[in-house]
C-alpha cells in the first residue's frame, strides 16, 4: 500500500469542514477534529481522522445521533453520571471530562461515568485534558466485545483501554493502552501484510490459540467466537487473569457505575452503540504542594530513563515520550495517510459536496476511483 503525507494544517482544515458539513456547529467540529488529529499526531493512526469513515457510517446508520446533547442525570460535588443520548463520543467525552476537571478544581476530585455514548477516539485525549490543567487525569471506555475472558471462547469485554496522564517535565506521564494484549488494528495490520499473528495474541472460535489473522478477524466480524486475549495472554502462566481484571476495571467505571450497556452487548443495536466511558481528575494539591510532587515525579521518571539498558536496547522510555516525539515528527514532516484512506476521503467529499482537490491539491486518485461508491 502506498502512503502520502499531508500537513497537520491540511488535515485539520479538511476534518473540520467535514464535521461542519455533517451538521455539527463550528465548536463541535473543532472538538471532534482535535480529538481525532491528536491521535494522528501521537502516532495512533488507527484512532485518528483516518477512521473518519467509522463516524460517517454511524451517523448514516443512526447509531450516532449527530444532534444529541449530553445530559447530566445524577450529580454530587465529586461525581456525575452523564447520559450521552447516543451523541458523538468525542463531544460526550469532552463534556464529561470538563465536568470532572471542574469538580477536581473545586473539591480535589471529580469522577464522571457516562452511558449511551459512542466511540470516543483515544482514551488518552481525555486524560491529557486534565493533565493540561495541572491535574492527574484518567479515562477508560468499554467497546464492542473483542476480549475473551480467561478460559473463555466468546468475547465478553471490549479492548477497554485505560489512560492516565500526570503533569511532569519535560513532558507529562501519558499512559494509554488497551487491556487486551493488542488492539484489533494490530491484527488487521498483520492480515494486510499476509503474515501470521505473533503467538499469544488471539484465539480461534474454540478458544484455542490461533495465529491465523484472516480466520480470527472473520470470526470477530461474524461473532463466531474467539477474539483477542487479555494483556497477559490466554492462560494464568503469564497473567491472563490480570489483563482480564484491568478490563473489568474499565467496565466498572464505564458501564457498571453508569448502569449502561456492558461490552458484552454494546454495538449490537440498530439505533445506538451504547458505549460507556469513565473519567476522573484528581488535583495533586489535595496531597500537598503540587510543584514539590511534580519535582519528585520528574526525578523518578529521569531515574527510569537513565537506568541501565538491556543488552541490545538503546533506550528506556517513560510513558508519553513516544507520543511527544511522534507529534514533533508529524508536525514537521506531516501525517501519513494511505491510498485506501484517500479513496475513502474522496468518497466522503462527494457525499458531502466538498471539493476533494481543493483540500488535497495534486493528489491523483487511483484510476479505478469513479466517484462516490458508498462501499467503504
Amino acid at each position: 500500500m502506498a502512503y502520502v503525507k499531508w500537513s497537520f494544517e491540511t488535515l485539520n482544515a479538511f476534518c473540520k469542514d467535514v464535521f461542519r458539513k455533517f451538521g455539527f456547529s463550528g465548536d463541535e467540529a473543532d472538538t471532534i477534529t482535535d480529538v481525532l488529529l491528536t491521535a494522528d499526531l501521537y502516532g495512533i493512526e488507527s484512532h485518528g481522522m483516518q477512521r473518519m469513515v467509522r463516524y460517517h457510517k454511524g451517523l448514516e446508520k443512526g447509531t450516532i445521533h449527530g444532534d444529541a446533547k449530553p445530559e447530566i442525570v445524577f450529580e454530587t460535588p465529586i461525581s456525575a453520571v452523564i447520559d450521552g443520548h447516543s451523541g458523538m463520543g468525542q463531544l460526550v467525552g469532552v463534556f464529561a471530562m470538563q465536568k470532572a476537571i471542574e469538580k477536581a478544581k473545586a473539591t480535589g476530585v471529580g469522577i464522571v461515568t457516562v452511558r449511551e455514548s459512542n466511540h470516543y477516539g483515544i482514551a488518552g485525549y481525555y486524560a491529557k485534558m486534565a493533565c493540561d490543567e495541572g491535574l492527574l487525569g484518567f479515562s477508560c471506555t468499554n467497546s464492542e466485545a473483542i476480549m475473551v475472558p480467561t478460559f473463555g471462547r466468546k468475547a465478553m469485554l471490549g479492548s477497554n483501554p485505560i489512560a492516565v496522564a500526570m503533569p511532569a517535565d519535560p513532558y507529562p506521564f501519558f499512559f494509554d493502552s488497551s487491556t487486551t494484549v493488542v488492539t484489533r488494528g494490530k491484527l488487521e495490520m498483520y492480515n494486510k501484510m499476509g503474515k501470521p499473528l505473533p503467538e499469544g495474541w488471539a484465539l480461534d472460535e474454540n478458544g484455542q490459540p490461533s495465529q491465523d489473522a484472516p480466520r480470527v478477524l472473520a470470526n470477530i466480524v461474524g461473532k463466531n467466537g474467539g477474539g483477542i486475549v487479555p494483556l497477559g495472554g490466554a492462560t494464568e502462566t503469564l497473567g491472563s487473569h490480570k489483563g482480564y481484571g484491568y478490563g473489568m476495571l474499565a467496565e466498572i467505571f464505564s458501564s457498571i457505575l453508569s448502569q449502561g450497556v456492558t461490552s458484552a452487548e454494546c454495538c449490537t443495536f440498530d439505533d445506538k452503540t451504547g458505549i460507556c466511558h469513565g473519567f476522573a481528575a484528581i488535583n495533586p494539591a489535595a496531597f500537598g504542594d503540587p510543584d514539590a510532587i511534580r519535582a519528585h515525579f520528574n526525578e523518578y521518571l529521569q531515574e527510569l530513563r537513565d537506568s541501565p539498558k538491556a543488552e541490545g536496547a538503546a533506550r528506556i522510555y517513560t510513558h508519553g515520550e513516544k507520543e511527544v516525539e511522534a507529534e514533533q515528527d508529524r508536525r514537521e514532516n506531516g501525517i501519513q495517510v494511505n491510498d485506501g484512506t484517500m479513496v475513502e476521503l474522496a468518497d466522503l467529499c462527494q457525499y458531502l459536496g466538498l471539493d476533494f482537490s481543493s483540500y488535497f491539491p495534486g493528489y491523483e486518485l487511483p484510476a479505478e476511483f469513479a466517484g462516490f461508491t458508498g462501499n467503504y
Copy 2:
C-alpha cells in the same frame, strides 16, 4: 518438603500472642493477625502468617518501628497524606484505609496516600475493607525493586500490586495482583522444585530472558541486575510497556503523591524500608442507587461466568471466586504450613518465650531442631 495443616483458630491464637509478645497492644495484634491470616485463608500463603519471620526480622533490625503511630500530615475532605513513621505496615494500612472509608462515606470519595510505612501484606485486604462497607475499594503499594522496566536490566519498580474490590452477589469482585508478570514467590517455588522458570518471567543480569531460577534469584538478592518482567513480558509484542505502566500507577498513588521513597530506593536503608501505599474508597451512591448498580454488576458477572468456555476449560472465573472457595476450604480443612515454616515458628517461640507445644500439640520438630538458632 512436608506440610502439616492447622486450623484457622490455632494459627489465629498463635499469631495474636506472637504480636502481643512483640509489644503490640491487643487491638494492634488482632489487626496484624487479621491481615496476615486473611491472606492464608485466601490461599495467598506467600503473604500470610507464614512470612512472620519477615516481620520479626524487621522489628529486630529496626526497619519496622513497633511503637510508631501513623500520623496525618496533610488532609482535605476527600484526601489525606499519612506518614507511617516506619510502623507496622498492617497498622498503617488499616488506619489509612479507615480514613479513606470515612471520607468516602462523608463526601463520596476518599483517597489516601502513605509514605514511610512497611510491608503491609496483601493489597486486597484494604480494598476489601472498603468493599465490606458497601464501597468500591482500591489499594496499591510500592515495594523493593524487582520489576525491570521495558528495555532495562535493573529493577526500578516493585512488584507494585494493585487491588480493587467492589460489592457484588453472591460474592464481591476482588482483584488483587502484582503488576509484574508473577511475584518473587513464584520464582522461589520453581527454585525449590529445581525446575526451569517458564519463558517470559525473568531477566538475567544483562537484561536477557532467563529461565534459570537460582541465577535470577541470586541476582535479585545481590542486586546484580535483572529481575522479573512487567505483566506483558520483556518486549512490546505482548505488552511489556502496559504492565510497566500499571506499575507506575501504583508508584504514583503510593510514593509520588505522598512524596515518599520510590521502589528504586526503598528497602535499602538500615532504619526504615520507606515503603509507600495508596488507598481509595468510592461510594457507589455518588452515582445513583447503590442497589441498582450492584444488581447491574451482578448480572454482568454472571454473564461472564456463564459465557462459553474454551475447549478443554471447565470454568470461567470472575475475580474473587477463587479466594471465596479457598477460604471455605481452609476454614473447613485447615491451613497448610510447611515444615520449614514450623521450625521458624518454633524458633520464634523460643525467642519470645512462648510455649510452642501448647499451640501446636503433637507436632514433632525435625530432629535437627536444637532450640533457637536465629538463623532463619
